[in-house]
Amino acid sequence: MNWSTEQISRSRREFLSLAARLGAAAAVFGTSPLHGAAVHVHPNPKKIVVVTFGGGARDDETFSPAGQENIPHLLTELAPQSTFFTQVVNRGILGHYVATASLATGVYETLNNFASVPPEHPTVFEYFRQQLKRPASDAWVVAPSNGFNRIGESDHRSFGDGMGAGVILPKHLLAAAMPADSAAYDHLLQDSYETPYYTPGLRGNELQLQQLERMLQLSVGDFTSHARTLSSPDELSVYIARRLMQQLAPSLLWITLHDIDVAHSGAYSLYVDGIRRTDRLCAELWNTIQTEPEYAGKTAMFILPDFGRDADDDAGGNGFQHHRTGDPLSRTTWMMALGPGIRERVVVDRAIDSLDLVPTLGGLLGFSPSFAKGHPIAEVV
C-alpha cells in the first residue's frame, strides 16, 4: 500500500482515539481543533523547550496499533495534555542536520548535511535574543553530534557573531573527557549513524570541556561518572539539558535526540529500542519542566521528529532503515504542543508545514522571525 498523507493522518487519529477509549485519557479527544476540546486558558508561556528527534520514527512503530507498545509515555501521559498535529509535512532535504536547521530557521535550508557550516538564514535563537534583548545564557541547544555544532547561529549579515544560542554537544564533551586510548573513545567519536565513519571538525560556539564546570557547575569527574551510569548518548543529552535548566534556566531550550537514527544500521531491534528510550526521555523532560520552579506552569514544550522514514512498500528504499525515497511517509510526521495557553486533548488533522514552528514560537514568545517562510499555527498561537 502506498501511504498518502491523509492515510497517515487517519492512522494517527484512529490510534489516539483508541488510546482514549481504552481509558488512557480522562476525556475523549476532540474531533476537531475547535470542537469537543477541554480548553484551559492560560497566559502565553514564558519559556519554551523544543524536542526534535533526529531520526524519525514511522507510524508502524509508533502510532499504529502494532506500534503503540513502543510509545506508552507519549500516548498516555503527554498526548492527553497536548494539542496534537497529525500531519507535519517536511518539504525540504531529508538529512538530519539540514532538516533540523530548517526547523530552527523556518526556511528550507540547502546546506550540505555533512559539512560543518551554519544555516544560511537567521535562527530562532537569533530572533529571540536580538529582538527581546536576551543574554547569551537564555538560549541553548543540546545536540547529538559534531555535525550540529553550527546550528546555534546563522551567518546572516543582519545578525552579528555571538547573537545565537550556545551549543552543547554532550557526546563530544564526553569524548574529550575520556582518555584517547579507552575502548569507548572511538565509539564516542562516531558522529552519525548515517555516515558512521566520518566526523566533521568543530568550528562554532559550542561549549568546551573547560567551560562545563563554570557554566553548569559540573566537574569533569562528576560528568564522566554520571555518564558511566547512562545507556545512550540521548540519556546524556537529557542529563545535560536538565543541568542547564537547573543552573541557567534558559527561556529557549532546543534539544535534538538522535538514538533512533541507529536504524541506519539496519538492526530493527535497536531502532525500536531507540523509540522506546526517546518516548521515556520526552516524558522525563516534561516532568522536569513540571518540577523545576523556573519552568513549572510557564513553559511550553514542542515535540516533533524532524521527518519520517521510508515506507516498507517503497521499492526505492529499504523500509525503516533509511529516509532516502522522499515518499509521503518519510516526509510526513507529527507534532505535540503542550503547556500553558495550549489546549489539551485536541487533535488537528489539517496539514501544517515544518517551517511553521519558528513563526509559532515567535508568536508565543513575542518576536518576529522576519525571514522565516512558515506561518504561525493558529491552534497554538
Binding site: A183, A184, L188, E235, H264, G266, A267, N318
Partner: protein
C-alpha cells in the same frame, strides 16, 4: 557535454561487453536526457559483471529508447527533460563516472527542490517500461525461506506479526531435521531448474551446506573481506580532506581483489563487494547483512529460490558498558537478533513479492529449532492459524 554529443570513443574505458553495447546503441543513448542517462550508464558500465536478469533488463531499456519515435521520446522522457541541471553537472565526466554524477545529481535535486519532480518522472518512466516490457514469469513459482532466531530461547513479542495476515501461522511445528529438510528442498529445486544465479543460500554465520548449483554468500565466509574493508575505511577517514562523499566514491570504486576476494566468479565477487560497500550496517551486523543481501539478490538476480538464515549478530553495547570496558570483544545477542530476523523475514517476503509471478510465489519463515512458522502460498488461506502438528517437510508439501 550533453547526451546528443556522445561519441563512440568516449566509451573506451568501459569493459569489453559494456563497450560493445554502448557503441552499438549510441544513437539510442543520445536520445535520453542528461538527468536520466547517467543512471542508465552506471548500470551499463557494470554490464560485464551483472547478473543475467540485469543484462536482459538493460538491453530491453536501451532497445526501447531506440524504438521510440520523436513524439514518443517526448512522452517518455519529458519529465526528465524538465529537470534543470547546473552547468557544473553538464560539464561533469558523466560517461566515465556515471555513479558519481548520480550522487551529485541527487544532491542538486534536493537542494533545488526538484526531488519530487524527478521522483514523479522516474515512477512514470518505470511504469511505462514495465508495461511495455513486462517481466517474464519465472520457470517455476519462486520460493523464499527465512530461518530466524538461532540461539534464542523465546520471543518477547509475538513472532511473524507482519507475515501472518498473508498466510497460515503454525504454532505446533516439529523442528526435527528442519534445516536439513529445507536445505534438501533448495537442492532439489536447483537440480530440477538449473540456471546461473537462480538459487541462493545466504547465511548470517558460517554456511552449513555446500549445495551444487546454489549460489552461496555468507557473513562468516566474508569475514576477511569485511575486516579488510573496515581497515581500509579506517585508513581513508584519517586522510586529509576526506568527507562522506569522497569516502563513498572510494568505496564505489572498490574491486574484489582489494578485499582479498578471488576472481573465480567476477559477477559474484562484484556483488559481494557491493553488499559490503553499499549496504549500511552489513559490515558489522550479520542480521543486516542477510536482509540486505537477500534484498539485493532478489532485486538484481531475480532468483527462483532464496534460503536465508539469520544468525545472531554482535551485541550493541550500551554507553555505560562501553565506558566501563578496557577492551571490546564481540558478544552475540540472540534475543535482539530474533527481532531483527523477524523484520528481516518480512522484508524478504516484501522484496520477493516485487518480482514477476508474485501471486504464485511461496514463502516460509521458521523460528529455528522451535515450533513456530508461517507459510504463505496460493494454497494457504490468508490470516489463519493452525495448531496442527507438522514437520517442516509437511509445511513444504502443503505449500505445493
Amino acid at each position: 557535454m550533453l547526451p546528443r554529443d556522445l561519441q563512440p570513443e568516449q566509451f573506451q574505458q568501459y569493459p569489453p561487453l559494456a563497450h560493445k553495447l554502448a557503441v552499438e546503441n549510441i544513437v539510442a543513448l543520445r536520445r535520453i536526457p542528461l538527468s536520466l542517462l547517467p543512471s542508465l550508464l552506471s548500470e551499463l558500465i557494470q554490464y560485464d559483471y551483472r547478473f543475467p536478469a540485469e543484462r536482459k533488463s538493460l538491453e530491453a531499456e536501451i532497445a526501447n529508447a531506440a524504438s521510440l519515435s520523436d513524439t514518443q521520446v517526448s512522452e517518455w522522457f519529458g519529465g526528465f527533460a524538465q529537470i534543470r541541471l547546473s552547468p557544473q553537472l553538464e560539464s561533469f565526466d558523466w560517461v566515465n563516472a556515471p555513479a558519481q554524477f548520480v550522487e551529485q545529481l541527487s544532491d542538486q535535486l534536493w537542494r533545488t527542490h526538484q526531488m519530487d519532480a524527478f521522483r514523479n518522472a522516474a515512477l512514470a518512466y518505470s511504469n511505462r517500461l514495465l508495461a511495455a516490457y513486462p517481466p517474464e514469469a519465472p520457470a517455476i513459482p519462486r520460493l523464499g525461506i527465512a530461518i530466524i532466531g538461532a540461539g534464542a530461547a523465546s520471543s518477547p513479542v509475538p513472532l511473524f506479526r507482519k507475515l501472518r495476515p498473508h498466510g497460515v501461522y503454525f504454532r505446533n511445528v516439529k523442528p526435527e531435521n528442519g534445516f536439513s529438510l529445507l536445505r534438501n528442498a533448495v537442492a532439489d529445486r536447483a537440480r530440477g531448474n538449473p540456471a546461473p544465479f537462480a538459487h541462493w543460500y545466504i547465511d548470517g554465520g558460517v554456511p552449513e551446506a555446500d549445495l551444487a548449483g546454489v549460489t552461496c554468500v555468507s557473513y562468516g565466509g566474508l569475514e576477511p573481506a569485511r575486516a579488510a574493508l573496515l581497515r581500509r575505511m579506517n585508513r581513508e577517514i584519517h586522510s586529509a580532506g576526506m568527507g562522506p562523499e569522497q569516502l563513498r566514491t572510494i568505496m564505489a570504486r572498490m574491486r574484489p581483489a582489494e578485499l582479498g576476494l578471488g576472481d573465480e566468479d567476477p559477477v559474484l565477487g562484484r556483488f559481494q563487494v557491493s553488499v559490503l560497500t553499499e549496504g549500511s550496517g552489513t559490515q558489522v551486523f550479520s542480521t543486516t547483512f542477510v536482509q540486505w543481501t537477500v534484498r539485493e539478490a532478489l532485486r538484481r538476480a531475480q532468483p527462483l529460490t532464496v534460503l536465508a538464515r539469520f544468525a545472531p549478530r554482535q551485541r550493541q553495547l550500551p554507553m555505560n558498558e562501553l565506558l566501563a570496558r578496557t577492551e571490546t570483544r564481540a558478544e552475540l545477542d540472540p534475543a535482539e537478533s530474533l527481532i531483527d530476523g523477524d523484520m528481516g523475514a518480512y522484508y524478504n517476503w516484501v522484496n520477493q513479492q516485487r518480482l514477476a509471478g508474485a501471486e504464485q510465489s511461496r514463502f516460509l519463515a521458521w523460528f529455528e529449532e522451535r515450533n513456530e512458522a508461517v507459510v504463505i502460498a496460493p494454497s494457504m488461506p490468508r490470516g489463519t492459524e493452525s495448531s496442527t502438528s507438522a514437520t517442516i517437510g509437511d509445511l513444504l508439501k502443503w505449500m505445493g
